[in-house]
């Protein structure tokens, strides 16, 4: 078992943890945390395989991960904006009480 498969298997474990958190929890902030864990597991896999290829491919993979990190950051920003509004309207940020997004 070489280093590539070690990192591959541990990124599978992290992805499974994120998936478990996303499906079991209903708190909005907790679901955002789980989404970040999922994205990081995917990014780790990209960097892992980029480490084993030619230089140009590795460079393209790193640019891809750079874009992915930036998109994850803005996803967190817009998600927190929506969740603060959920807190304002419903008093708590459990996803399953938010049946509609307009004011109640």
């Amino acid at each position: 078992m070489n280093e590539t498969s070690i990192i591959l298997y541990s990124s599978i474990i992290m992805f499974a943890i994120g998936l478990y958190g996303l499906t079991t929890r209903r708190n909005a902030i907790r679901m955002l945390i789980s989404i970040e864990i999922l994205l990081n597991a995917a990014n780790l896999n990209i960097i892992n395989f980029a480490h084993r290829t030619a230089l140009t491919n590795a460079m393209q993979a790193q640019v891809l991960v750079l874009f992915s990190i930036a998109l994850a950051a803005i996803e967190a920003a817009i998600g927190i904006g929506i969740f603060i509004n959920l807190y304002r309207i419903y008093g708590e940020a459990e996803i399953d009480i938010a049946k509609k997004l307009r004011e109640v």
């Binding site: 990192i7 079991t24 780790l44 084993r52 290829t53 990190i69 927190i80």
Partner: protein, 157 residues
Amino acid sequence: MDLYLVSLLTILAIAAISAFLAVESRELMHGVFFLGVFLVTMGAIYFLLGAEFIGVVQILLYAGGVVVLLIFALMLLPRRGEREVIYRGPGTGIVMIFLVLFFLMLGKSSPPSGAVRVPTSLLAETVLSQYLLLILLLSLLIIVILVAASYLVGGER
């Protein structure tokens, strides 16, 4: 076992444990702190895998930006009694299905081995020549999203 492998295994173990605690900890604030630990360890793994610039961006943008954003959101919001709904049965089922499908898909293929280390100067040159238009579009998107987020949060007045 050389030092590289030992440090890689240690960091991966810390990352997996802190990811689990981030999802499963009772207090929401503790979960955010464990998410910070997880993101810093991911940056360390990027350093070990020869992606220094990505590691720096990870620590600056994720562990410095996203975690602080989450902590501020938690601190600014009013604290109600924790009524966290947990659906353990369906979640465990979905994760089991995922793991079984993945190991079936993985089969007997053996991943390649090697070690490529991308110099940061070369990466910067590529980003600022080949991907310049995409970087500009991304920064435009970030500005639009930030304006939209601030409108969402403070839209009442």
